[in-house]
Amino acid sequence: MSAGLGGAGDIIGILAATIFVAAMLIWVERRMLAIWQDRLGPNRVGPLGLLQVMADMIKMFFKEDWIPPFADKLVFVLAPTIVFITMLTGFAVIPFAPGVGIIDFNFGLLYFLALSSLAVYSIVLAGYASNNKYSLLGALRAAAQTVSYEVFMGLSIMGVVMLAGTFNLREIVEAQRDGWFIVPQFAGFIIFLIAVIAESRRAPLDLPEAEQELVAGFHTEYSGMKFGMFFVGEYLAIILSSAMIVTLFFGGWLGPWLPPLLWFCLKTTVGILLFILLRGALPRPRYDQLMSFGWKVMLPVALLNLLVTGAVVLSLAG
């Protein structure tokens, strides 16, 4: 276990691994959803259908990359890259294992919050630049949803920060040696989980792209690899969110017998499968239900959780 973070090996390895996993998730998600819904899913291309990813990618690369003549071209091209880049750079602070990772940043948690709030530009700008009513409505929903859910996404993890006494993700993991934070911070975990689903616009909270109402929402006008960027960006968001949940609430790389990196990957995989299962299991709420649930239930609960955690931490310390 070397303390050297951010070597070329770390950077290239993490980048390659995350992009590979994000691409494979296309197959994993379809296959798992199918199994949970008593279907078979894609199983024709290659063994177990594993080459489905290749087929999808070839299709996407060879599709006509069309920019609508009525679009704001500069912004239209820029928008899909934003979600991709912000999500990839988010992995810089993830503590994969002791000695594996890119930087050991004192404000790692805030850095994650900053990047997830920047990612919304991708959706908003895509909706604006498409110059299409459905896209615009999708973008409006995305902006309102993300700005609202961001508020208590930040608040829900402040309980963890209080218990660990730091914003540094590596120190937060180390602080969970005596017990995972999911036990004292169960309310925080639930709120954070709902908030990251809303932030990454995954079903059941995928109202910005609700296909029954809005065609495809903000990415209606996108095709080819530009659409692929949104697609892979969503999977990157899932991986990043699962990694953050594991780090904050499930003790990160800590665990008996197995090497730390393997523990981290195992826990993150369970997190990703949970995201997919939620998509298969829950119906989509109405938009006004989503907003009033956020402000009238989640925000007070997050604040209450913060108050109780603060009181307990203070009474134990004094």
Binding site: Y121, V124, A144
Partner: protein
């Protein structure tokens, strides 16, 4: 190395700000403004104020500017405002303020050259910020929170009668 990065980032910030002012399309202008705020975040980081850097990105670039883009998008004004902006950006309008700004800039240059030495930054911890805020500056924090609460209540009040009026009409 750090100094080099600092000057590059400063140049990006200044360039982005100038571009922001001169863009005719409001959304393009906002994109440059976001870039300028991100550059300011990097500047804070390079000066050692990591906490301020992250907050700059979360609050300004990540929250306030999203609302700006949101509003501009809702207004969706298109070509008409671009033409209007073109009229507003004629030299007769911007030449006065620019001359005054150049004078201020020259003054600042003179001050810097004559003796204002550049401060070397120090790392500021979130704990130090919190202790300062809730120690000597507690009153200011409380006042700011009261102001925000008043704003919140005001916004709620402004939103409320509209609802009643439309409901009353319908009944």
């Amino acid at each position: 190395m750090m100094l080099f990065l600092f000057y590059i980032t400063s140049a990006v910030a200044v360039f982005a700000t100038v571009m922001m002012i001169t863009r005719l399309n409001a959304v393009h202008g906002l994109l440059y403004l976001i870039l300028s705020l991100l550059a300011a975040g990097v500047l804070f980081f390079l000066l050692g104020a990591h906490f301020a850097a992250v907050l700059e990105v979360i609050i300004y670039a990540g929250a306030i500017m999203v609302l700006f883009v949101f509003v501009i998008m809702m207004l969706n004004q298109g070509q008409k405002t671009t033409d209007q902006e073109r009229i507003w950006l004629q030299p007769t309008i911007w030449i006065g303020p620019s001359v005054l700004a150049v004078i201020l800039f020259a003054e600042m240059l003179i001050v810097i050259v004559s003796g204002g030495n550049a401060e070397t930054g120090q790392i500021v911890d979130s704990k130090q910020v919190a202790i300062a805020l809730y120690g000597p500056y507690l009153l200011a924090v409380e006042l700011a929170s009261m102001l925000l609460l008043a704003g919140l209540v005001g916004a709620y009040h402004l939103g409320k009668p509209m609802l009643k009026k439309t409901l009353g009409k319908r009944a």
